[in-house]
Symmetry: D2
Amino acid sequence: MTTTAHRDGHTPAAPGTVGPIGYSLPLSPSGKASMLTPPPWHFCGEILMVDYRVDPDAARRFLPPGLDPGADPGAAAAVFATWQWCSQDGAELADPAVCQFSEFLILLSCTFEGRPMARCPFAWVDQPVPMMRGWVQGMPKQFGAIHRTRPVTVGRAGSRLAPGGRFDGALSVHGRRSVEASVTIERSTERPPALHDVPLAHSLVFPEWVPSAPPRTQLVASEVSDVEFSLIWSGPGHLTYLDRLGEDFASLSPLEVRTGYVFTYGETLHGGRLLRE
Amino acid sequence: MTTTAHRDGHTPAAPGTVGPIGYSLPLSPSGKASMLTPPPWHFCGEILMVDYRVDPDAARRFLPPGLDPGADPGAAAAVFATWQWCSQDGAELADPAVCQFSEFLILLSCTFEGRPMARCPFAWVDQPVPMMRGWVQGMPKQFGAIHRTRPVTVGRAGSRLAPGGRFDGALSVHGRRSVEASVTIERSTERPPALHDVPLAHSLVFPEWVPSAPPRTQLVASEVSDVEFSLIWSGPGHLTYLDRLGEDFASLSPLEVRTGYVFTYGETLHGGRLLRE
Amino acid sequence: MTTTAHRDGHTPAAPGTVGPIGYSLPLSPSGKASMLTPPPWHFCGEILMVDYRVDPDAARRFLPPGLDPGADPGAAAAVFATWQWCSQDGAELADPAVCQFSEFLILLSCTFEGRPMARCPFAWVDQPVPMMRGWVQGMPKQFGAIHRTRPVTVGRAGSRLAPGGRFDGALSVHGRRSVEASVTIERSTERPPALHDVPLAHSLVFPEWVPSAPPRTQLVASEVSDVEFSLIWSGPGHLTYLDRLGEDFASLSPLEVRTGYVFTYGETLHGGRLLRE
Amino acid sequence: MTTTAHRDGHTPAAPGTVGPIGYSLPLSPSGKASMLTPPPWHFCGEILMVDYRVDPDAARRFLPPGLDPGADPGAAAAVFATWQWCSQDGAELADPAVCQFSEFLILLSCTFEGRPMARCPFAWVDQPVPMMRGWVQGMPKQFGAIHRTRPVTVGRAGSRLAPGGRFDGALSVHGRRSVEASVTIERSTERPPALHDVPLAHSLVFPEWVPSAPPRTQLVASEVSDVEFSLIWSGPGHLTYLDRLGEDFASLSPLEVRTGYVFTYGETLHGGRLLRE
């Protein structure tokens, strides 16, 4: 039986054969050396998010076949998140050097077969396991330095989650400050920000290594459950793209910056659902 | 007038002279290039703390002249903290890459002229400004990697601040895991842990560089105000010293591990008060 | 024509279609946002390598179908490398924050259809692009901290490349020191170490995300050219596995440590050749 | 006798007294927990250096009393270095995670009592021990990310040390790219660059913590021996100050960029000599 290494019944890489196994590389005799655990993965994130608008034509050029701009072309969001995560059995929580990471990502409004979804053209994280797990699900996570001020509940070293409180986020890539954002809180609501409350549509693609038929790209939707939002604090947002990330990234520069949000978010990610080959 | 660079009236390094000035290095024409701002500094920390006991003789050997073991010799605490901080004008809060750090430190119970205090024989932080600021106040901060699981309020990726919740801390130094700790919550109280509620007594000492009279060591107490504690969650603590930090550190290994605590703490640090030359 | 983003004629991810393109994620309108450039990639590495022997049965359990233990079962090597790299057009060399990384890897002796090859069961690097590029070629690169002392040519802060010189390597993973090695030089030779002079046989495998037929694993060999060795310095090696990387890694612990080597190595990596589906 | 912890006879911090000792914090029973070893310290550095000119008035404003602009006011140099170092007994060389760091610094031409010297107004390193050691000697080292391409001797992933070879350096501070430089080699010489071949004059200053008489600033010169240069490769230099480091740093922006150099340098640093109280 080779499945002992697989906590939730996922098929190991090399079932029923002699040879090392695993959900991911590295393959090993027991499968336990796999860098990634199979889904489901639980997440809890402290989020700073700013809605903005980009050139609708620029946004459209980032949508793969199957996705349409939808009713609000050019709607976008910048999201800074500080995550804690664990696998199904929660084992990573006992090692705080493993179970946390920070992330910055951009979301574009879109639709699939008329249903609202979000497309993530760019994302950065500061830990290798989430980066690799991003590629497994078609999410284009690269490596960066992401920082976000956190609300305080005592003392004078920061803002409280209350009107007047200000929270900032910053992204640096290869030692170059690339994005800065802030939110100044005016009110609270229970309604989640639109782009954080729709499924994500990613493209599964893996770089060609051995000469082959054209690589297959699959459009997939992430399958999540147990979505939970805290109260949503909101107010005027600010967002600045700084330099150095190239023409494609720059084409999504903010034309208009709108509301910002601060909230906490939980979800469980189970795998992907094929939308279109 | 050279004082414009000094936000709170501290005397610049070279008052009234020609030449560059500053609260700290680097000195510069305006004084604004100083790596450190002068106190006061505001702090808000998320804390995981474990009380333990060490060999009272070993603890005594870490106390400088002027400090006595007091009524509870061998009482010690290990503290993991995730801090947000800012100077008097709060400027650092607008740059989240600057205003946060993590810390691990050890506290030993002691007294000065009969009053309870705490002595910090070892501390590690993960940012350079807090490290250097530690030496300015006589706190022996070195560089390390400090991680601490955080309570969650939504989702399944961590424990809530409630009975049964478990929180972990870890310290690595030069790529070697050195300390691990955890607390499993059983109850809450408003009474702060004893060793986190007394003044710290540090030794101001700076390494000799030019041949000179014997370097002066001053025993000082940190001057703090605006101390604020959240509710204190507590329960059984665990604490393990792993290897590689040398015989002095090892001499403070836990003989008995007691209660652990999880709480939030705020303070403002104003400078030092001379206890003894 | 969508190939302008592809420096050497590799097929883009979505040729001839509407939609973003790229050799890898992130896909983008121009394809230039791709985190990875397509091969060829040039490498120059400063290497510290130690030959050792492991339990032949343990080694065999890491070989996938198609690879055999060969004439010297249990022969292994530990390799610390400090790399500089660039793509075909050399563009990365103008950004020294991008074109360098360090690596630690283990090699096991094996054969494919009777020809000597090496299998890499474990590897760690300290930069995200090489990590992801490892998975593209089937090399199980994870993230770690890798350090290696370098030879000096002036002054007293290190050894020269000459008899008596000692060089050290160290690997830490998640803040835990895992491997330490050293070589003390006795002589030089022009003959490369056996396990650094054979092709690498990797397993292309990508974690399952959408429910599908059993994931395909392909056995591939890396295609390299322009291999160049410096003079090879060698002498007694030392190698210690420390803890914390799990039973699979531990099963390859050294039973006997042999010669160590210090040398410089260059190669160009062009892609993969399919050995077996 | 308390001197066992002191490898070269330096007076410990608290000789002849009860209480913990050490060359630096942390003080401990044996003194061996000191973060810093006492000098001498040996260094070997791979250097990329670019001569440039700044506004002579701006440069003068960085000179403390006692230093004069000298015969070539406004002469400056930007230096990127990758160092290996060890204490007198070489112990650090056995831990490659400890004995290496990178540095960027600026030098200004000046004189003390008519003798040519160099003043370092700004410096950054990427390791905590060298940062703290900088302050001990009056060198204003802060924390940054420093990268430098290295010469290759085999393969195609970089330039050789030969005419036409190009080498780059980059500094980032708090995730912001601040300085970029390059040198394209045209020739070699045995004459060291002027600003790398004169003593450094630093200001010993330590931030005030307890209210006191005005803090003393001492002008000191570093005492070095065993200076050794490799062959010096030189050619046209490029140097760009990017943003974000404040008005004082910006006042030293290049008005004219001159020759660049690539070389290896060794020295032993023994302590300081008082130039002026």
